[in-house]
Symmetry: C2
Subunit: 787 residues, 2 copies
């Protein structure tokens, strides 16, 4: 985007707007004719413009470009369509149905909690068992072959042990379900924001995700299982709440009344919370995560049910895991906390600046990490497009991980006496008898276990050199890993990097300050981990609570919060969080929390797409079919037939309602024409639910030539009172409407309520102030407007 | 309300609606004439109806009646008025101003945190010091006079010690600022919901509240300081953010750009959070409290700043209190936790049902408490209307509290050997040497300290009889106390009651189950306390986190959550939470989270008040003055002059904007008439801010007779694009608009965008389904519609 050019463009607009304003203040009421002349000029080129649009959406989009919003995503429709069918149903079923629906909701949230937890347990236990086998044998082989001087044998074995599972995982992801790559959090975030990311909540995705994450973690990649667990929770929620599976073509005829975007979204936010809760044992953190990352309009009832699902999820997980750990029934067994139980470290007021400083370091390192990962991702989008290449890349990174680990163990001889390290398989390597290699014990376990070690290993377990080298390499490794075609999350490797440099800092501080006041290196490891994670993902309140819950430590709330705030501010100075970066990279039209500043003088008439294609209340079938085939629009305002007066100026139809493409297709499919009428008694709101969420395309609907002369009365089906605003409404005002109510389409009307345009989510998502373009002075003008 | 009659009424409406629906489904488009005839019939009686309305609002409302919504509350306006003055300002000041405003916001939140914490510290330390003096002397006197058999001396002393502070506190509340009575949480909740409770965020209120709460708690009333601290936080936030004090008539000319309802509300929600944070040392709980109880549309930026204020508040509090406790700088000194640090008790899976049962008991006891308190409050509203009576009542309750305490100590001889109780002033009473009276140690301290005792006293400290008697009397006392003309909260007494019966339950369970598995009675005291509090206030997620944070115990999250859910469900089966009950009792038109069920077929045309009084874009001054004097309306749609055609049917003006009473008054006051023009250059958006929030009344504005012939152009001042909806919009749809966007007025337009009615917050708040009327079958129909 040429900054200079854009600035000029906006400057011109500003002039125009000032003029416009002067006009108003000098009391000349804008006349209807004026408006008509503005909007009707281009009205005659209606069909040609439609065709042009179709072509545009087929164009290739330069990958990696941030300023172009992709046309490949559809939005979700969170606004309830209160058509007559729905009212009819409501009246027939009465209050009992309301109660039943409510009970069903609670029941579904219960199921979501249980199933999410069970999947999490399965992932957890698989990873633990397989990793134990892997690392126990590696440790033995190392100690066996080192005496024979054949260390290359365990090395190759390690590479093999890494490559095989990663190959399986990457193949699944690349060939079966590419959307299952990565942590899944960006995708869930988009879904909750209102963007339909294709295939994100399907059962196939869940399968690939679960198996994939086991493979990736067992394969030794620098990643964790937490992100995928959250995504799993979301899929489980979407699946259970619909009472049917399109993948398995089975319909249980349950919960059919929840088959709409709005209800489904609520369940998905519960599922995501249950996922967090299962991943970290953090029910409150789960709710806050859903809140911070997700939904726009939040209500008490939903919070409350989300919380319920989270609690059930932790509960189920704890029951299963306490049994697995051999302490059935003891639900607050400290071993169930992922990152181990923290003792109550004390801290003093003069440590607060140290924590803030650590937050800044974390923010800076996180921002750098994000930047590197962004560059790498752009490179990947450009060059690693072939599926085979993706699998090979993943395997190479797996091999690289083993190599780095091996070299570190081999070259740095960090020996400590046995007996004080909680590691399961002490590896001797070149250490003396009664000693073990510290780096081997860090590498020969899952990253999660390594975080635990760094948090809880006694002081002096790790020396500065090993920590320093480990930080550098793990930083690079984790950055390389995120974005591979593997389903793997970034929470754990980021925490690990942070914990390592936090401990390193402790070693440094111990030279300056009396060791007694520093209490324990684990404290600094924790703060470092939080700072690094905060710098990468930029979450605050949910992250604080998650870390508090996962370490079982509450007295550390204040230092954690201070650190995370410092990390976020430092990071935000440079760039956006990693999830937002990846969301922008894939061109998802995410609606931010607030409208951009200084756009009060941008009006609906400038934002809206026009001319708009409208339908009449009684519309010809052939016309509808043609429209659906020619355009890709998803919502059509329904209007009274526009009056064509003698002077050939086309005036617009008065708004009557709004109908969706999906509804039109169902109507066509069911042939609910006026001419073949008699249908009224049998038609209920469930005809739309039966097809939800995968409506047929217009090409799958067969309409006979004769039928094309028939007509359809759209009134019983359309949304009879869509929110609509005047052409003079400002952008922030529309923005708030979209954000708070989860709208997808907003018809724009003129003074007499005639539809003159349509604003969609995407039209608004386009307006963003691009920070960090280097030039501060221009920043306020950098509003990206390209399609 | 006569249930039967109401049911009939609604039945009729249902018939009408069914007919209406049939009409539509048989495709007869509703004609414009039809609509006109519906709405214009009563249009001619415009002025008379206005007069009638004024009279109605002067009528006395039968106190205690729940079905009548009071006219005494105004709503707040959370919708930004994007008039030309604002746009002008925005354009002039540019992006730098956005940054400046944002920095100022953070700075204010910082101040809010610090000041709230300092006030909390002052309250805390005053209470602690004064109580120590009081109870130390009482304890000595008891042990001194008991040997002389003159126990009536310490008794009368106790009564005196109670009455004197309570008298001061109650006098302040009753005569100086009655709104400072009670906990203040209902008032803050109303404010955040969008109802302007008069004088709730004034400095005078803060003063009375702070001094009052010290008096009440020192006076030994069964109450706590937590609720008032939350209210204090809210007042501090409202005060600081405005940069001026109308009470002290001083304007610091700071932060003038935050002088509007919307910005102020954001700060108040931060202040409430900071208050919770200071009261309980629970920053995360504070944010969740604001979230659960407060704002409707929540965004990330605000959450984030609220969180910041909470953290700062805890931090400041900890710094001050750690110094006070003699451990300066050690910020996680366990003594800073209000309810004491919990060890990590373990629990087992078979205890979960016990916790759920306790939740149910708590829910039931809480519901009963609410019911009794409701009845008592109604009685108070009816009979204790005189200010002197209120003070006398408070003093009587204070004396009663001392009497109950004294009788319990005197009659129940519960002695335990010295040395195992953490009480500061062991009183011997009739116990043997080396023993102390347990009940005396419970009574001779603040309720908060008693909660700590019940949580942490070793097993066998309390016997079943003392606990049982204590529960019964404290339950009644706390119920009597809440609603007195004292500023005092209910968190602590409720926790205390719950902790007592929780411990009692432990004594019972210890007979059945092996004591080893029960671990410690403190566990049951905690669960009982949570259950009781949950049953009374019905908060869930915020309460869980608050209790977790205030006890420093995280491993107990699951049992707490389970208990609180059980308590809420049980309680909700009987009635509403105590805050909601009190809000309804005072007739505040609170907007619930969700629209009532089954009202999709109630349309805007039925809800709106009509005829509506509109103003023309160029309006006569005399007309405006007369309107403002005659009516009490706060918002007027601005329309193009309506066209009066020959047939004498008044058609309506087309909507151009919306103007508020407050804006009109400022315009009149500044005499911004067209005839005296030349004003444009000097008029900025700040003219409205200068008067905010206490705008003059119309009677305070002097308009000369000559000026009444002048005219005003309203367009530069009005909100040029208010949200408006069609007459056919359903109630839930309007509800969501109001709830999500914080609207106050919603003009209703007909098909050609002419204003035919106006819906206000109150019109919607009127629609509520009344639960628990005894008859389940009728419940769905019981929609209260009375004014």
């Amino acid at each position: 985007m040429d900054t200079e050019e854009n600035a000029n463009q906006i400057d011109n607009e500003e002039v125009i707007r000032v003029t416009h304003f002067r006009n108003l203040s000098s009391m000349s009421a804008p006349s209807q004719e004026e408006l008509n002349s503005i909007y009707t000029d281009d009205c005659k080129s209606l069909l040609s413009s439609v065709r042009r649009r179709v072509e545009i959406s087929d164009e290739k989009i330069e990958p990696g470009s941030l300023n172009v919003l992709s046309a490949k995503y559809e939005s979700l429709d969170y606004d309830t369509c209160e058509n007559h069918l729905l009212l009819d149903e409501e009246r027939k079923k009465g209050y009992k149905f309301v109660v039943k629906k409510n009970l069903a909701r609670w029941f579904i949230f219960l199921l979501i909690g249980v199933v999410t937890a069970l999947i999490a347990c399965a992932i957890d236990i698989s990873i633990e068992e397989l990793s134990q086998v892997k690392y126990a044998s590696l440790s033995q082989y190392v100690d066996h072959y080192i005496t024979e001087g054949k260390l290359y044998i365990p090395y190759f074995l390690w590479v093999l042990y890494n490559i095989v599972p990663v190959f399986i995982g990457a193949t699944l992801v690349a060939f079966v379900e590419p959307i299952a790559a990565g942590s899944g959090i960006p995708q869930v975030k988009c879904y909750l924001n209102g963007v339909k990311v294709p295939r994100v909540v399907r059962i196939k995705t869940l399968f690939v995700k679960s198996v994939g994450v086991v493979c990736s973690v067992v394969g030794g990649l620098a990643g964790g299982k937490e992100g995928p667990m959250i995504h799993s929770g979301a899929v489980v929620a979407a699946g259970i709440s619909q009472g049917k599976s399109t993948t398995f073509k089975s319909d249980f005829n349950m919960f059919y009344y929840f088959r709409e975007d709005h209800e489904k979204r609520d369940f998905v936010s519960g599922g995501a919370a249950a996922g967090v809760s299962a991943a970290f044992g953090a029910p409150v953190g789960g709710v806050l995560f859903s809140l911070e990352e997700g939904t726009s309009f939040w209500n008490q009832g939903l919070t409350w049910r989300t919380f319920f699902a989270s609690v059930i999820s932790t509960f189920t997980l704890n029951v299963v895991l306490s049994t697995y750990h051999g302490v059935p029934g003891i639900l607050n067994f400290p071993g169930l906390l992922n990152l181990g139980q923290f003792e109550r470290f004390s801290y003093q007021i003069y440590e607060i600046p140290i924590f803030i400083l650590m937050g800044c370091i974390g923010g800076f390192l996180g921002a750098l990490w994000n930047h590197l990962n962004f560059k790498l991702s752009v490179w990947r989008v450009k060059y690693i497009r072939n599926k085979f290449l993706k699998v090979i890349e993943a395997c190479l990174v797996a091999a690289l991980t083993a190599t780095v680990g091996f070299l570190m163990m081999y070259l740095i001889n960090d020996c400590k006496p046995l007996g004080q390290d909680p590691t399961k398989y002490p590896t001797q390597m070149y250490c003396g008898d009664g000693e073990y290699n510290v780096l081997a014990s860090i590498w020969f376990q899952t990253p999660e276990a390594s975080v635990r070690s760094l948090f809880h290993d006694p002081p002096n377990t790790h020396n500065a050199l090993s920590l320093g080298v480990f930080v550098v390499f793990y930083y690079i490794l984790s950055c390389t890993t995120f974005g591979l075609a593997c389903s793997i999350g970034l929470f754990i490797p980021t925490l690990l990097t942070g914990a390592a440099w936090g401990r390193l800092l402790y070693v440094g501080l111990a030279h300056v300050l009396p060791v007694a006041t520093l209490v324990h290196p684990g404290k600094y490891a924790l703060i470092g981990a939080a700072a690094q994670l905060g710098g990468v993902v930029r979450m605050t309140i949910s992250l604080t609570v998650i870390i508090m819950e996962t370490t079982g430590n509450i007295s550390f709330a204040l230092p954690l919060i201070v650190t995370l705030i410092a990390a976020k501010w430092t990071g935000d100075f440079f760039n956006e969080g990693i999830y937002d970066t990846h969301i922008q990279l894939s061109g998802v039209p995410l609606l931010p929390w607030e409208p951009p500043p200084l756009v009060h003088n941008v009006y609906a008439s400038e934002v809206m797409s026009h001319p708009v294609i409208t339908l009449r209340t009684n519309e010809n079938v052939g016309h509808i079919v043609e429209l659906l085939k020619l355009t890709t629009y998803n919502g059509f305002p329904v209007v009274d037939p526009p009056i064509t007066d003698q002077s050939e100026v086309v005036t617009y139809g008065r708004i009557r309602g709004l109908i969706l493409r999906s509804q039109l297709i169902v109507i066509l499919q069911r042939k609910l024409f006026n001419e073949t009428a008699e249908y009224w008694d049998t038609v209920t709101a469930s005809i739309f639910r039966a097809e939800y969420p995968r409506f047929p395309t217009i090409d799958q609907v067969h309409i006979a030539e004769e039928e094309k002369t028939y007509s359809i009365d759209l009134r019983p089906f359309m949304n009879p009172s869509p929110y609509s605003v005047l052409h003079s409404t400002s952008l922030p005002r529309m923005f708030r409407l979209f954000r708070a109510l989860g709208l997808r389409h907003l018809p724009i009307v003129n003074d007499t309520n005639e539809v003159i345009g349509l604003v969609t989510r995407k039209d608004l998502a386009r307006y963003r102030v691009w920070h960090h373009q280097g030039r501060m002075g221009v920043e306020e003008l950098l509003i990206s407007k390209e399609l």
